[in-house]
């Protein structure tokens, strides 16, 4: 019964966060416009350099889907720092809700937002370029794991930042290098040294690699990348939880 209450509190906190995010239509549109814009721009760019649609389907779209999960999740976790600065976090802290429920709830909303955003881009990619994935459950699993690990990163940033502007700057400091080095637009293997090593430290690299591997049916790579993403998920969420827990139990 107690566990059920804990879980229900988390679900309600996540539901409340997502409700706020989706309530603002502009928020949703803007957050999706960026990856759509990047997808279209790079499609034209690759098309102009002679790369065919097959390359866009098998390389660019999986990368964009992974990147969108990253933006969706990290953006959603920024709600923590807004909640802190607007005092709404206090509202939850004053209620009989455990710190664990708050952390789980915030993590859930971040991951759900990451998955939803990624799926929207996947649908757009499928509609425009005819992308097809042999194993949609594997895609969902990778997107989910990636979203959780990005949520963990977002939680760490939100916990460390004292105000929203600082959080946005910190998140950009991580998101943009990840976007360009995480194998979304350029192959990690083609990068000059020591950039491949930097790329291998980023969860987005494993998400994009796994999504591409699913398309060509390379289960071994998908399996290894899924394990790495799981390790990232556990590590970042544990660290993020520690930081949030410290704030909540000052």
């Amino acid at each position: 019964m107690k566990r059920l209450t804990l879980l229900m509190h988390s679900v309600w906190i996540a539901e409340n966060d997502l409700r706020q995010s989706f309530k603002s239509v502009r928020h949703v549109v803007w957050s999706l416009l960026f990856p759509i814009f990047m997808m279209l721009t790079f499609s034209f760019r690759y098309g102009a350099t002679g790369l065919d649609v097959e390359f866009i389907k098998t390389f660019l779209i999986p990368g964009i889907v992974g990147m969108t999960a990253m933006f969706g999740s990290i953006n959603e976790t920024m709600s923590i720092v807004w909640d802190k600065s607007l005092g709404v976090f206090d509202r939850i802290l004053a209620a009989p809700v455990s710190s664990t429920s708050i952390i789980v709830g915030k993590t859930m909303s971040g991951a759900v937002m990451g998955v939803i955003s990624a799926l929207v881009l996947l649908i757009i990619g499928t509609t425009l370029f005819g992308v097809s994935f042999a194993n949609i459950s594997a895609v969902l699993l990778i997107v989910l794991l990636a979203s959780f690990s990005f949520t963990g990163i977002g939680t760490i940033i939100s916990g460390l930042a004292s105000e929203p502007r600082e959080a946005m700057m910190l998140s950009n400091l991580l998101r943009f290098p990840m976007m360009f080095l995480g194998g979304v637009f350029f192959s990690v293997e083609a990068m000059p040294m020591p950039l491949p090593y930097v790329a291998r430290a980023m969860p987005l690299t494993y998400a994009t690699e796994a999504l591409r591997a699913i398309q060509i049916g390379n289960t071994a790579i998908v399996f290894v990348d899924a394990i790495v993403l799981l390790v990232y998920t556990v590590g970042t969420i544990l660290l993020g939880s520690q930081i949030l827990m410290k704030i909540m139990t000052r």
Binding site: A94, A95, P96, S162
Partner: protein, 333 residues
């Protein structure tokens, strides 16, 4: 239960800054208790510890018979907290905000619906219940914040600066609500930096300054405790800037404190017989003409000034006081 809240030796540091210094007081069941002090005095920090949102460095807080450190969830279930800022979800409607709070306090669907209707009706927000809270006026925000604190029908209401920043009409309405809630049988602990508010609402008052509780009694007794102190009110003709007389009069012999209150110069002194002619002479010498002079009843503000040596209207000026105010009022850092 005689006491709704009992705090003993409650202490809190922010780094090396002592924000709350071994504070002791109790709030009796069904009373309105006012914690009075200037900004940065430690009021918000004290109530955050009482509500289980901050961990004290030492000391205990017992609420409704439960030790906050041992049973924070039991305490939170019994307290309705009205923070000094409206901390509702602006992107959601009033109804959805209340729905969310009801869920967190474990109310079932039917009870939630009934209570939400009840508080929306009570605070005259029913017509705007589906509007996004971000479009609400300040007064509506305040009413909804109180409504949200009442959704689980708490036995104790903790209100941080409940009328701060409100226009006179809304502030009066909020005060009426506080009195009504108390009449319904709820214990109210409120913090305020407004002397009049504490005097008007609270049955007992604790005066807190620099983290220390320096007086604790009924407003009448606190006023009496400054026996020996007399208050004199003067108005100086053509003195549109009455403020400029404050430093001049403060230097006069026998004057303990001097400050502006409701546009008049208020002088505190232990010996009015000596002070009155001295002040008249001084004003005369400085080219001013006293239009009106009267001996006044001591107020809670007089008591506060004679206890702390400063006016409660002063804003924190030092870096430390600023930091403390920011830490206690700015939510989580």
């Amino acid at each position: 239960m005689e006491n709704a809240i009992e705090i003993k030796e409650l202490t809190k540091y922010y780094g090396s800054l002592l924000a709350v210094d071994h504070v002791n007081f109790e709030v009796k069941d069904k009373e309105i208790f006012g914690l009075l002090g200037p900004n940065g005095a430690g009021k918000t920090t004290t109530i955050r510890m009482i509500c289980g949102m901050l961990r004290p460095a030492s000391g205990t807080a017992v609420v409704a018979g439960f030790d906050v450190a041992q049973k924070p969830q039991e305490v939170k279930r019994r307290i309705g907290l009205v923070p000094d800022i409206s901390n509702l979800f602006g992107e959601l409607s009033a109804r959805v905000n209340l729905e969310f709070m009801g869920k967190l306090y474990g109310l079932d669907k039917k009870t939630r619906r009934e209570r939400i209707d009840q508080v929306l009706e009570l605070f005259q927000l029913k017509d705007r219940q589906n509007d996004l809270v971000k479009y609400y006026s300040k007064g509506m925000h305040r009413r909804l914040t109180i409504a949200a604190a009442l959704i689980h029908q708490p036995e104790i209401l903790v209100m941080d600066e409940p009328t701060s920043g409100l226009d006179a009409q809304t502030a009066r309405l909020v005060r009426e609500i506080i009195v009504d809630l108390n009449k319904e049988g709820r214990t109210v602990l409120l913090t305020t930096h407004q002397i009049e508010e504490a005097d008007r609402l609270a049955q007992r008052v604790g005066i807190i300054d620099r983290g220390r509780l320096i007086a604790l009694d009924t407003p009448e007794q606190i006023k009496k405790s400054t026996e020996g102190i007399r208050a004199l009110e003067i108005e100086i003709l053509n003195g549109t800037d009455q403020q400029r007389w404050i430093p001049i009069i403060s230097k006069a012999e026998g004057v303990d404190n001097v400050f502006l209150a409701e546009g008049k110069i208020r002088i505190l002194s232990k010996d009015l017989a000596q002070t009155i002619p001295t002040v008249i002479n001084l004003v005369d010498k400085q080219g001013g003409k006293i239009e009106n002079i009267s001996v006044a009843q001591p107020t809670l503000e007089d008591a506060f000034i004679s206890l702390t040596g400063k006016s409660i209207r002063e804003e924190p000026a030092s870096k430390e006081a600023y930091l403390k105010a920011r830490l206690t009022r700015g939510g989580l850092r």
